[in-house]
């Protein structure tokens, strides 16, 4: 965390709970950086999160109203708060297991209804807090504590899912692309309507060590190698795209 952003943290917070090498600290830093650059008033923002590691990005750290909810239901809680008090800038920050696996129905319905929420999904492709079980975002073949022979089910492409559900702004970046990610966070915090930003955030503790990335640095390196831009992806064949993660803005319908 940059020292100049510490003013956005609760005074009693002295450390974060994230494991060494976790990407969530970068996500936290960039969200606060975007708030700082946009000069947003923290007293007008409500941060809503569900259950899991990423849900701890705002709660209890951010010095604003925070609503730490039930597993999977952050968007339903956020919907109620936003509809009753439209003056609140409601930002949902949670993980892939929370927002998509258990909470997927709320996610697609909020996108369909175009509820004015900024949803930031920190995707670590695994259930980190509960011990590394397979998620609906775990790549095919990946090793987890519940797929010891490799994951046999295909993962969701979250951005395609949210595009189909009607989200106004859909983007994906990795924490290894901080400048593009910062720009995307700024957009999602200021755009009207439902926005969805997927942030690839590595989990060395639960995912990396099981999948041939022995150190956090190895995980970061492999993310940098795997992430390619939408433009670059357009010149690749289906086979060449195998294992690649396409990043960029998939939809930008400004209202």
């Amino acid at each position: 965390m940059s020292r100049d952003l510490e003013k956005y943290l609760r005074p009693e917070i002295t450390s974060t709970p994230f494991c060494p090498g976790c990407g969530h600290g970068i996500v936290m830093n960039l969200i606060l950086r975007a708030i700082d650059e946009l000069k947003l008033d923290m007293d007008e923002i409500l941060f809503v999160s569900g259950i899991g590691c990423a849900a701890w990005i705002p709660s209890p750290h951010f010095n604003a109203d925070t609503l730490h909810t039930l597993h999977g239901r952050a968007i339903a809680f956020a919907t109620g708060a936003k509809l009753y008090n439209p003056k609140l800038n409601v930002v949902v920050i949670s993980g892939d297991g929370d927002l998509v696996s258990i909470g997927g129905n709320h996610l697609i319905h909020a996108a369909r209804r175009d509820i004015d929420l900024s949803v930031i999904c920190a995707n670590n492709m695994i259930y980190g807090m509960t011990g590394g079980q397979v998620a609906s975002t775990s790549p095919l073949g990946s090793l987890t504590s519940t797929t010891i022979d490799g994951n046999i089910h295909r993962p969701f492409d979250l951005c395609k899912l949210l595009l189909a559900a009607g989200a106004r702004y859909v983007a994906r970046y990795s924490v290894t692309q901080p400048l593009s990610l910062l720009k995307a966070i700024r957009k999602s915090l200021t755009m009207k309507g439902f926005t969805f930003l997927e942030v690839l955030s590595p989990c060395p503790t639960q995912f990396g060590r099981r999948n041939s990335n022995d150190t956090p640095a190895d995980m970061m390196k492999s993310l940098m190698e795997d992430c390619i831009s939408i433009e670059d992806s357009e010149n690749l064949t289906k086979e060449e795209l195998e294992g690649k993660i396409v990043t960029g803005e998939f939809s930008d319908e400004r209202s």
Partner: protein, 380 residues
């Protein structure tokens, strides 16, 4: 803040309403301006009427994707400052249980209406039952208290809904209206008075929203957007909402307080009504729609000079243990007719020392007065 007499939203007068319609008007009178729900028989008329009436009173209505989303969005709206409600029936009530535990633990005032149908499972969706009373008490995991009311008339569907919002705000607790299909769909005249007593939540700037040192045990409740930098969490938390998930003292204090704030105030919360019990040898204890048939039976016996009385439970939870304990020592026998397998008679057996006879009917039909009369005659 606190109790205040305010003008009723409906013009004073007589209205011919179904129970579900009257309940909706009671909610609006109490200040409910957020409603989220999901269609389910036999409660759907509440949501349909809300969807029209909220346009007239500037309320916020949304039909959610399921009952889980409904209860969760209600909680979100309450913390954003709303008085809020959802209505459902058995299967939806089951889905809401995790949210109910969250609301109890975060001390979120809200009202949930359960127009009970014949369960378990999908059961008989259009038929009557009263089988959700123990679920209302114990449905979510862990130890917590709620308040559950049992209206017996269309008038009470209006009045008790106002009471439900007042109790929710007064004690910062989920309050249930345990209606039954028969009362939801019954049509009767009701009277709307010019004014109603309404409780608005207590606020205190900078106060601890999750701790109260006094005997009452109910903390003030701020809303989002007031600059209080609120921390709301369903994890164990201290007075300011900071998670304390491995502190034994914080957990036990919090669990005890959210239980005691209801139990210590139960004399103020619990309402019962009695008919001919002073000299009664046999007392029928009844609630909800069944209490109407029970009163008919009691009147019949009194005309015959038989010493039969009625105790009606208007509040189901917290339980009227004190009055039932007294009745258990004054009466010879207690008779309890229920549209379930004896959920409340089991509770009564804990507190009443006399002989107890249960009559349980779970056929999707209301209990007929003649049935109560013939059952009581067996041991009269």
């Amino acid at each position: 803040m606190g109790y205040k007499e305010i003008k009723s939203v409906l013009s004073p007068g007589t209205y011919y309403f179904s129970g579900n319609e009257a309940l909706t008007e009671g909610a609006i009178a109490a200040g409910c301006r957020y409603y989220a729900g999901y269609p389910i028989t036999p409660s759907s008329e509440i949501m349909e009427r809300i969807s029209c009436r909220f346009k007239e009173v500037q309320g916020v209505f949304i039909q959610m994707e399921d009952e889980i989303a409904s209860i969760c969005s209600v909680i979100g709206a309450v913390w954003a400052g709303a008085k809020a409600m959802t209505a459902t029936s058995g299967p939806g009530f089951s889905l809401m249980q995790e949210g109910i535990g969250y609301a109890a633990f975060t001390e979120t005032p809200l009202v949930i209406v359960d127009i009970q149908r014949a369960g378990p499972g999908t059961g008989q969706a259009t038929r009557v039952g009263s089988g959700d009373l123990m679920q209302a008490k114990w449905g979510s995991h862990g130890d917590y208290q709620v308040i559950a009311l049992s209206p017996w008339s269309v008038q009470e569907m209006y009045d008790k809904t106002i009471d439900a919002f007042n109790l929710a705000e007064r004690y910062r607790v989920p309050v249930f209206i345990m209606g039954e299909e028969a009362i939801g769909h019954l049509r009767e005249n009701i009277s709307v008075k010019e004014k109603a007593m309404i409780f608005n939540r207590i606020k205190k700037r900078g106060g601890s929203p999750f701790d109260a040192k006094d005997e009452d045990g109910v903390p003030p409740m701020p809303s989002f957007g007031e600059g209080e930098k609120l921390l709301v969490t369903g994890s164990t938390h201290d007075g300011f909402g900071i998670r304390k998930t491995d502190d034994p003292l914080v957990h036990s204090r919090l669990v005890k307080r959210i239980n005691n704030k209801i139990l210590n105030n139960r004399e103020e919360i619990i309402e019962t009504e009695s008919y001919y019990i002073d000299d009664a040898e046999i007392i029928i204890i009844s609630y909800g729609f069944t209490a109407r048939a029970s009163l008919f039976a009691v009147n019949h016996f009194r005309e015959e000079g038989k010493k039969v009385g009625l105790l009606r439970l208007k509040t189901i939870w917290p339980f009227a243990d004190k009055v039932i304990n007294e009745i258990g020592s004054s009466a010879k026998k207690i008779f309890i007719p229920e549209m379930n397998m004896g959920q409340i008679s089991g509770e009564i057996r804990k507190y009443a020392a006399c002989e107890i006879i249960s009559y349980n009917q779970t056929d999707g039909e209301v209990i007929h007065p003649d049935k109560i009369i013939s059952e009581v005659k067996r041991f009269l």
